[in-house]
């Protein structure tokens, strides 16, 4: 095969992939999202557990008032460094309905580690009624369902961060309807969620200064973990798989060269 042919082939593949990438990456942005640096991006990226625990605190103290996180159980928090006792204590802070008991009645009991995160509202109607008709979406997968997952990067985390810090005064020519807020990261800029975070709005257990930006980063990281808890294991497995495949491929190449050496 001639050099030119190989070059042509490679160019085709690269152009093709670039096209796929372009198509996948969806450059149409209606809103402004700024990318941040995260510990979990890149080939060796992994979650920062201290950050995730701070993020959990933000969720629990602020977001949990309106947003459910129905795919997570309290025991999942052990994966980010909470001890078994701490998890049990956290779960026991809420009352959950259980039953029926032997008399057929439902009853309330303290939460257990195996319970899912308690939901703030009994149903969607109640959630809407409490939020001016808007529905606060479940946050379990929000980091994956917003703004694309991108290449290596996690635009979902970028988006949540931008949303958290994106509240501002509306421009002069915009009049906001009752109960709406102006946020430059949100599509259409008008969002029904009141600004959830404020400077020092939470007091971090680990003593970190709770600036707005810090809280926004922590909650974004936490929500990314919630959506993609297997990321650390995935990256680690990937490195091993690639090492194996590189050796396999080199060996296969060497054998192929040997076998073909006598062909003219």
């Amino acid at each position: 095969m001639s050099k030119g042919r190989i070059l042509l082939g490679l160019t085709t593949i690269i152009v093709g992939l670039a096209a796929v990438a372009m198509v996948a990456a969806n450059p149409v942005h209606h809103a402004t999202v700024h990318s941040q640096s995260w510990s979990f991006t890149g080939f060796f990226g992994h979650f920062d557990h201290a950050q995730l625990r701070r993020g959990h605190q933000v969720y629990k103290d602020v977001c949990a008032g309106c947003h459910s996180m129905s795919l997570l159980a309290y025991r999942d928090l052990q994966d980010i460094g909470f001890t078994e006792d701490e998890v049990q204590a956290l779960a026991a802070e809420v009352q959950v309905e259980d039953g029926p008991d032997d008399t057929g009645a439902m009853f309330e009991r303290p939460g257990r580690a195996s319970d899912r995160f308690k939901e703030p509202f009994p149903n969607e109607q109640a959630a809407r009624a409490a939020n001016n008709g808007a529905y606060p979406p479940d946050l379990s997968l929000i980091a994956k369902s917003r703004a694309g997952a991108g290449f290596l990067g996690y635009e979902g985390a970028d988006y949540i961060h931008s949303l958290m810090v994106g509240y501002e005064e509306p421009p002069a020519n915009v009049t906001l309807p009752e109960g709406m807020y102006y946020n430059h990261a949100f599509k259409g800029h008008q969002i029904a969620m009141p600004p959830p975070l404020s400077e020092d709005g939470v007091t971090y257990a680990d003593g970190t200064q709770a600036t707005l930006d810090q809280q926004a980063k922590d909650i974004s990281a936490f929500l990314t973990w919630a959506a993609e808890g297997n990321l650390d294991e995935r990256h680690r497995t990937g490195i091993k798989a690639v090492l194996f495949l590189v050796i396999f491929t080199l060996l296969a190449y060497a054998v192929k060269r040997r076998v073909w050496a006598d062909v003219h």
Binding site: M1, R5, G9, T12, V15, G16, A19, V20, M22, V23, A24, A25, N26, P27, V28, F43, L71, P137, S140, L141, K144, S145, R146, A147, G148, A149, G150, F151, L152, G156, A227, G229, N230, E233, R234, H235, T237, G238, A241, V242, L245, V246, F248, T249, A252, Y253, V255, K256, V259, W260, V263
Partner: protein, 467 residues
């Protein structure tokens, strides 16, 4: 060919009664293969590997998956979160579909360039097209299973296309849905079919291989093998070459699975299906985009569906549309150009399928903007009022040569692309068969020197006789 003598007595005993080992030896070991195959010939075996990967991962996923509208989404999340290595299985399967299509697309374009569809391999080619159709159906149904927003709305849009068929269209749609909209019975039947079709594909692949082994592989020169000096036994030459190719391909596959598992999918599919809320853009998976663009480039629904169907059906007739006696594009100076334009055209169509038809592509600033933004830019650059700009842009091509605003409406670009796609098969290839003067074809694979004074027709006469 002499039957092999097996040393192992058990194998000999079995083979005497059921000659599977002789058969395998003949078809996978000594099977004579042209010795000049390049790496484009790796993609057939890669497609086979991907089929096996999809079946194995799919079977294990199916053990954990629940085909019910109330549980499907969460059962997939359970696989991701609670099943041991479930995330790996699912990401292998999900990205595997994309890898499968990448491999098959390269495989198909390889055939288009080197004329592998020509006599005596017409049936082989047609079975290939059939496999491709089955793959499209399978992947579509698989995409519905996780029951996310795009699963649901994709299923709604695609099944609705059948309603364009006159008279019986609505009946067909009801049959597909098992009701009056996409709901639980729909999910159930799509799951059953998604489970079944890969095995139908497997069967078709076996037939594909039988047809292949009748005349053997085509090759980059596009000439027939003339004897043992032109071929090599499949093993170890091509088994080892395929092994190397497989390694490279798996590295590529691993990149997606481990570091960008959701990059090829639509984020909206991580939201539970909601029949009451339509996503802003309903976009199919990347591998359907060119066909989606063809569908949308025709304003009439029925005609659009026909065009989309025809764009694949036309491939069945390809062996009779391209009548040039020379197979390989290497020796066809004019064909070559049209071929590469076709590749480029398919990329453009893919691009058009992705974006809203009313949007504008601005090639100089590399942006896609919606109609409002485009009009606003035109207004700004020309210093005219918005209304005036609206009329200026109108329903035209959107090309506005005024400085800084050069844009093409996506749907127009798609129409151009569609036009070229069909012209390639219906006009370009038939005309080239008549008017193109191919370069001289070598006499044989082992003597790639040109035969002095040999005419092209002469060099390929043999292949024509077989037809």
């Amino acid at each position: 060919m002499a039957a092999p003598v097996f040393k192992n007595p058990v194998i000999r005993w079995i083979d005497h009664r059921l000659p599977v080992f002789s058969y395998l030896h003949h078809e996978a070991y000594e099977y004579p293969t042209p010795k000049n195959l390049n790496y484009w010939w790796n993609f057939g075996s890669l497609a086979g590997v991907m089929l096996v990967v999809m079946i194995v991962t799919g079977l294990i996923l199916a053990m954990q998956y629940t085909p019910h509208v109330d549980y499907a989404f969460n059962s997939v999340e359970r696989i991701m979160r609670d099943v041991n290595w479930g995330w790996l299985l699912r990401y292998l399967h999900m990205n595997g579909a994309s890898m499968f299509f990448i491999v098959v697309y390269i495989h198909i374009f390889r055939g288009l360039y080197f004329g592998s569809y020509k006599a005596p391999r017409e049936l082989l080619w047609q079975i290939g097209v059939l496999i491709y159709l089955l793959m499209m159906a399978t992947a579509f149904m698989g995409y519905v299973l996780p029951w996310g927003q795009m699963s649901f709305w994709g299923a709604t849009v695609i099944t609705n296309l059948f309603s364009a068929i006159p008279v019986i269209g609505d009946e067909i749609v009801t049959l597909l849905w098992g009701g009056f909209s996409v709901e639980n019975p729909t999910l159930n039947r799509l799951f059953v079919l998604h489970f079944l079709l890969p095995f139908v594909i497997l069967g078709a692949v076996v037939v594909h291989i039988i047809a292949l082994h009748r005349f053997g592989s085509n090759n980059p020169l596009g000439i027939d093998t003339k004897g043992p000096q032109d071929t090599l036994p499949f093993h170890p030459y091509y088994t080892m070459k395929d092994m190397f190719g497989l390694g490279v391909f798996l590295l590529f596959y691993a990149f997606w699975v481990f570091w960008a598992p959701n990059a090829l999918g639509d984020p909206v599919n991580y939201e539970l299906a909601n029949p009451l809320s339509t996503p802003e853009h309903i976009v199919p998976e990347w591998y359907y985009l060119p066909f989606y663009a063809i569908l949308r480039s025709i304003p009439d629904k029925l005609l659009g569906v026909i065009a989309m169907g025809a764009s694949i059906i036309i491939l069945f007739f390809l062996p009779w549309l391209d009548r040039s006696p020379v197979r390989s594009g290497t020796f066809r100076p004019v064909f070559k150009w049209f071929f590469w334009i076709l590749v480029f055209d398919c990329v453009i169509l893919m691009f058009c399928g992705k974006y809203a038809p009313e949007a504008y592509w601005m090639p100089f600033s590399l942006e896609i903007v919606d109609a409002d933004t485009f009009t606003a830019r035109v207004a700004e650059v020309r210093g005219i009022a918005h209304d005036e700009a609206l009329t200026a842009v109108g329903d035209m091509w959107g090309v506005n040569a005024a400085a800084g605003t050069f844009g093409i409406k996506i749907v127009r670009l798609g129409q151009l692309g569609t036009l070229y796609y069909f012209a390639y098969f219906l006009v370009v290839l038939p005309l080239l068969s008549i008017f193109e003067r191919p370069r001289q074809v070598p006499l044989s694979i082992s003597k790639p020197v040109l035969g002095g004074g040999q005419s092209v027709a002469h060099a390929t006469a043999k292949s024509m006789e077989k037809a």
